[in-house]
Amino acid sequence: MADENKNGGSNTPSSNGKNGGKVGVLEKVTTTVKEDIQALKTDIPAKVKEQVEGLKDPTKTQVYTSIFRHKHDDTPRNRALGVLSNVFLHLHPAKINRDAVRYSYTWGMGGITFYLFIILTYTGVLLMFYYHPSKVQAFRDVLYLEHDVPFGKILRNMHRWAAHLMVIGVWLHMFRVFLTGSYKKPREFNWNIGVLLLVFTLLLSFTGYLLPDDQLGFWAVTVGTNMARATPLLGHEGPFGPQLGMTPYNDVRFGLLGGSIVDANALLRSYIWHCIGIPIVASVLMIVHFWRVRKDGGISGPAPVMLTEEADKPRRGPKAAGE
């Protein structure tokens, strides 16, 4: 402010040199600003118009095109790209046999099982926010969840029922795969991955059973793990177990429970297997399972029926051609 006053005071026509230069700068600034304002009056409406025009078609914005790599026009090319350029959808091929979409063939059970796994992961993570895997506290956490946490009850219910549905889904999926002979060449290995996934699904459900730490879970897990006492060679009540030095304190059941009875350590072990160990293993197996479905030639059918006399004839290769 002081400087401005000084300049203003010495702003006379007689002044020259440095002071004259200062006058020039001021005029320059003023004219520039005036020009800018004048330009703004035309530029901004033009920009606004351009912006509004641009927003009329958001699919042309840079943000949109950076996310979606292709147009949304209803062309065969875009339909294919919609699947191929999406990380979640690219598990699917771009096109499939027209009969393969029939629900009566696949029953959709594999997909439903996977969807239930996603629901279980989602509700499970939310449940973990309210749960401590320690004796006394665990049961109280479930009560808290049921009575005080907003939507806690429906959260727990959804997790429980989705788990039961997932077990049923896995069974029915396996049943369908067997009935359609889909385990046959070249899908033998993927059937095996599927069997392992069945086992891990049951183990996931079983380890979760103990976590509310109520009578139901406690006795179910007691009954279940008591079987491990009788493991041949490795259990203290199993054939040849005592002969190999197995006691309740060093056998396979002790390893499962982290103790000789279902107690705090068993709760913690269940929790870690349930929330971390088995989900990771199962996820890896699921990745392999889905990948192999594609690599083994997509879903198995509905294939054209084969006749009995064609059973031992090679269908491809020089032999088939030579016949």
Binding site: Y103, G108, W161, V167, V199, L216, G217, M227, M306, T308
Partner: protein, 309 residues
């Protein structure tokens, strides 16, 4: 008839999945059977008419010239998946709003639940505990089930019936799987859930679960019936009976294959055939042992100082 008891069992929250599983399984068996039957009719028709077999598209669904063989996944598959996800979500939501997950008293090691039941999907194995010692029912059998399932693709050498429902072309394998899954797995679960009451005793549906009921069962061992008393004699006798079951059973399966399924037998290697026979006989031993126990009250067949079967 104790309707209240029946309702209590059926409406116990953790039993609801099994109540749901029964109609679900019935529906899907029907759905599979319907398609298998249609395919079998088509196969018969094509086998009788080789000229038609060369031109036919070989599916029961219509296919007209000019139709595209393939459809786009987007939208024709994805819309179905989307719909399935919505339907499952709705079912799950409604189920979760109307029925609460079970929560009993806090865990108490001093107060045994009676009956103390495993989770419903393991009740088949728990039911097996009645007929077998824990090391068989709880350890060997689950292991055999897993191994048995895993070897299926490697011992089923029948190239027919890959990718379509059929009964005619795969009677043996489908019959075996249906028996293992529906009878031995699901039916045992149903028995374990609805029939087994306090003390793991047999209560018919509608019978009151009497916690004080006592059953005086006199179970005998098979060697006792034959008057064998010495331990050595019991061991040898049991080994002969169990070994005899596998040898005679193996012969019977061989005879069945040679007469009814010569092609399947021809395709199988010795290793494939013997693995199939031993697994199949082990599975067949289950209902046999159950019959021995339920009808003739026989507990063990083979008694040794280390294990009993």
């Amino acid at each position: 008839m104790d309707w209240r008891q029946l309702w209590e069992i059926c409406s116990a929250p953790d039993n609801v999945p099994i109540v749901g599983l029964i109609p679900l399984l019935a529906f899907y068996i029907y759905l599979a059977w319907k398609q298998a039957h249609a395919n079998d009719v088509l196969i018969d028709q094509l086998e009788a008419d080789p000229a038609l077999a060369k031109t036919h598209h070989r599916k029961t669904w219509p296919f007209k010239p000019g139709w595209q063989k393939e459809v786009h996944v987007w939208p024709f598959l994805l819309r179905i998946e989307f719909l399935a996800a919505i339907i499952v979500t709705i079912i799950l939501m409604v189920w979760s709003i109307t029925l609460n997950a079970p929560l009993e008293e806090p865990a108490n090691p001093n107060l045994t639940m009676n009956p103390a039941k495993a989770p419903w999907y393991f009740l088949g194995l728990q039911e097996m505990l009645v007929y077998f010692d824990p090391w068989i029912a709880g350890v060997v059998m689950p292991t055999m089930i897993i191994i048995g399932l895993m070897v299926i693709p490697y011992i089923d050498t029948n190239p027919l019936g890959s990718g379509y429902y059929t009964w005619k072309q795969r009677k043996f394998s489908i019959g075996t799987f249906l028996f293992g899954f529906v009878i031995l797995w699901v039916a045992m679960i149903i028995i374990g859930t609805f029939i087994r009451g306090p003390g793991w005793q047999w209560f018919w549906p509608g019978q009151t679960w009497d916690h004080n009921r006592l059953i005086y069962e006199v179970n005998r061992d098979l060697p006792d019936i034959f008057g064998i008393t010495s331990n050595l004699g019991k061991g040898i006798f049991g080994a002969i009976v169990v070994g005899g079951f596998y040898v005679l059973g193996g012969g019977a399966v061989y005879s069945l294959f040679r007469r009814k399924m010569p092609k399947d037998f021809q395709r199988m290697s010795l290793l494939q055939f013997s693995i199939m026979v031993s697994l199949w006989l082990t599975m067949a031993a289950l209902p046999l042992k159950m019959a021995l126990r339920l009808i003739w009250h026989i507990k063990y067949v083979w008694i040794t100082p280390w294990f009993n079967i």
